[in-house]
């Protein structure tokens, strides 16, 4: 890959991601807060569609030898604790890290203040890393496992179930939203 591509490539990818996040309204703090208040299902609609469409494509790409999986370690205790903190932080902040970066560029000053908080959080994590590594990160560490590995249910069945489940759920959400209007 050329030097130009190593900078321009990720810049364009990031810009496309930021563009989509803004067009999906998820750089709007109110939309995220109202997802957790179950008043606006935009976040789940975006994420659910991305997972199903992205997952089926990546599965095909892996099967045809065009890419491989990049699975994160299942350090179950660390992931569970981290995700719990993440859920709290997301509701208090009103953004997740990616949507926050987009929101700053659309004029949200409070998102910028929170981004400084995110720097503080990263510093606190780095300072507590030695202790976490010794006491938390190795607890229930299952390695880079995927659901098909642990359940012996094949990929295609997972995606079929996810697609049908998502379609039914979104159909129900859409009809509830239509009734409310």
């Amino acid at each position: 890959m050329t030097a130009m591509m190593t900078i321009l490539g990720p810049l364009v990818m990031g810009a496309a991601f930021g563009f989509l996040l803004q067009r999906g309204k998820v750089t709007n703090c109110n939309v995220i807060e109202n997802q957790f208040r179950l008043r606006d299902f935009t976040v789940l609609k975006v994420m659910g569609t991305a997972i199903v469409v992205g997952g089926i494509g990546v599965l095909l790409l892996v099967d045809t030898g065009n890419t491989k999986y990049y699975v994160k370690d299942a350090n179950m205790l660390a992931v569970a604790l981290g995700a719990a903190l993440f859920g709290v932080g997301m509701v208090v902040y009103g953004y997740c890290p990616g949507t926050a970066l987009g929101a700053i560029a659309t004029g949200s000053v409070h998102a910028l203040v929170g981004a400084l908080g995110m720097v503080a959080g990263a510093i606190l994590y780095a300072l507590s890393f030695d202790w976490l590594k010794a006491h938390v990160l190795n607890v229930w560490a299952l390695g880079k496992v995927r659901l098909p590995d642990v359940t012996h249910v094949p990929d295609i069945a997972w995606f079929a179930a996810l697609a049908v489940g998502a379609a039914l759920f979104f159909w129900w959400v859409e009809s509830a939203e239509a009734r409310r209007k």
Binding site: G14, F17, G18, E33, K45, Y69, G89, V91, M118
Partner: protein, 183 residues
């Protein structure tokens, strides 16, 4: 500053409201994931690169020695790699979209927050700062965020990522119910 923005927003084309379907956007992000996997071998993610950049800000706070000696930043030093440039692209793309759709506006206190906690800017800034700190600590502990775990990990059917999604949404719903409870 405010007046410039206000006049800009007033003059922005009103016809071009955001009317993209969230499903279309989700499919677009899914498609972007295909490219990320097949062309770059680097799934969409935010916080790994963010913590690399945070080491720069940490130097004036905890000193250059402490940063250089830190075991976490030794494993994750600042380098201008794919993830960091991807991070730079996100605000650029969001800015272009906001300007094109005429939805760029200064926001100091979002509506939902204001309804519950009032118009105090200081209160909102403190909340945003603390929330930001907690979310990033959680993201680093879990090994990813809504992008890296939620979307990239979720679409790979990773065990870690589906645990992340379930716990994140459950605690988010709980804390939201507490925060926005009727008084």
């Amino acid at each position: 500053m405010t007046t410039i923005t206000e006049s800009y927003v007033r003059e922005a084309p009103r016809t071009a409201r955001i009317d993209w379907s969230p499903y279309l956007v989700g499919a677009g992000i899914g498609l972007l994931s295909w490219i990320a996997f097949a062309v770059f071998g680097d799934p969409l993610g935010v916080t790994t690169a963010y913590s690399r950049i945070a080491s720069l800000f940490a130097i004036p706070v905890i000193g250059p020695e402490a940063v250089a000696q830190n075991a976490y930043w030794k494993s994750m030093p600042l380098k201008w790699d794919y993830g960091v440039w991807f991070l730079v692209g996100i605000p650029a793309g969001a800015f272009i979209s906001a300007v094109m759709s005429g939805t760029w506006r200064l926001e100091l206190v979002p509506e939902v927050w204001q309804e519950r906690f009032g118009p105090s800017i200081a209160k909102r800034f403190i909340g945003a700062f603390l929330g930001g700190a907690v979310i990033m600590y959680g993201a680093r502990l879990a090994g990813g965020c809504t992008s890296g775990h939620g979307i990239s990990g979720g679409l790979q059917l990773a065990v870690s990522s589906w645990l992340f999604l379930a716990v994140m949404f459950a605690t988010g719903l709980g804390i939201s119910a507490l925060m926005f409870r009727k008084q």
